[in-house]
């Protein structure tokens, strides 16, 4: 993130930057969030957590809409394999705003969101190993 002087318009600039980051593709977005600061990105993108299963979480923001005016929804995931320095990469993947599937009620919103990213709209995502 470039240096932005504190003062009038500071929050507005950070909000604009956070929304710009949200619009990037997943790889560029993850790198930009790491640089911007995840807590700041959550704050200035206006993200609210709507589900957390202890491993993954799902977040929504009304500051970024799709073509139908629905709020943007992201699922936050952490690489199963840590980096050499012991940290783990975090990815924020955008998912459809309306995941009305049965597994939301049985496995939770975040599982439904990850299932969707692998093409499973309702059931079928059941990996026995994840790295």
């Amino acid at each position: 993130m470039q240096d932005i002087p504190a003062g009038e318009g500071y929050d507005s600039l950070l909000r604009q930057e956070a929304i710009s980051i949200a619009k990037l593709d997943s790889t560029a977005r993850s790198a930009a969030i790491a640089k911007f600061g995840e807590d700041l990105w959550i704050k200035y993108a206006g993200l609210k957590q709507i589900h957390n299963d202890g491993i993954r979480s799902t977040w929504s923001t009304a500051n970024l809409n799709d073509d139908d005016g629905n709020p943007a929804v992201f699922v936050r995931v952490i690489n199963s394999t840590p980096e050499p320095d012991g940290t783990s990469k975090v990815y924020w993947l955008r998912v459809p705003p309306n995941l009305h599937t049965r597994i939301i009620f049985t496995r939770g919103y975040s599982h439904a969101a990850i299932s969707w990213t692998f093409g499973y709209a309702s059931h079928g995502y059941t990996p026995i190993v994840e790295t």
Binding site: D25, S26, T27, D66, D67, V73, N79, S80, T81, E83, K89, Y91, L93, R94, V95, P96, W116, T117, F118, G119, Y120, G124, Y125, T126, P127, I128, V129, E130, T131
Partner: protein, 117 residues
Amino acid sequence: MPNHIQYRQGDILLSTTHHIYAQQGLLINQNDQNVSLEKKRPDLVLAIGEKEGHAHVAVGLDVELWEDNVGTLWLKAPNSATITHPEHSSITVAPGTYEVIRQHEYAPGQRPRNIAD
């Protein structure tokens, strides 16, 4: 007993066909389409990542990578296979034939975008 066996390495998911169809010798993809393997790939690269050299690669005896009639990759591993990637722990999969499913994300007004880690 699950209907299929799945392994995930980052942004790819390997999934066997439904076991009942497998017993019948049919390959049914995740969209319930009956597909046929048409083109053998000259390499064993399941997916190429965003960074240079970061690819999901299969290694193993008699392992083959095929493309089906709808453009999806299938891994044939008659004696198991190991999947490698520079940023993920390797996975050894049981003998079988696996659909290679790429992870994607939602993009309003567009087709879902593939993810490449």
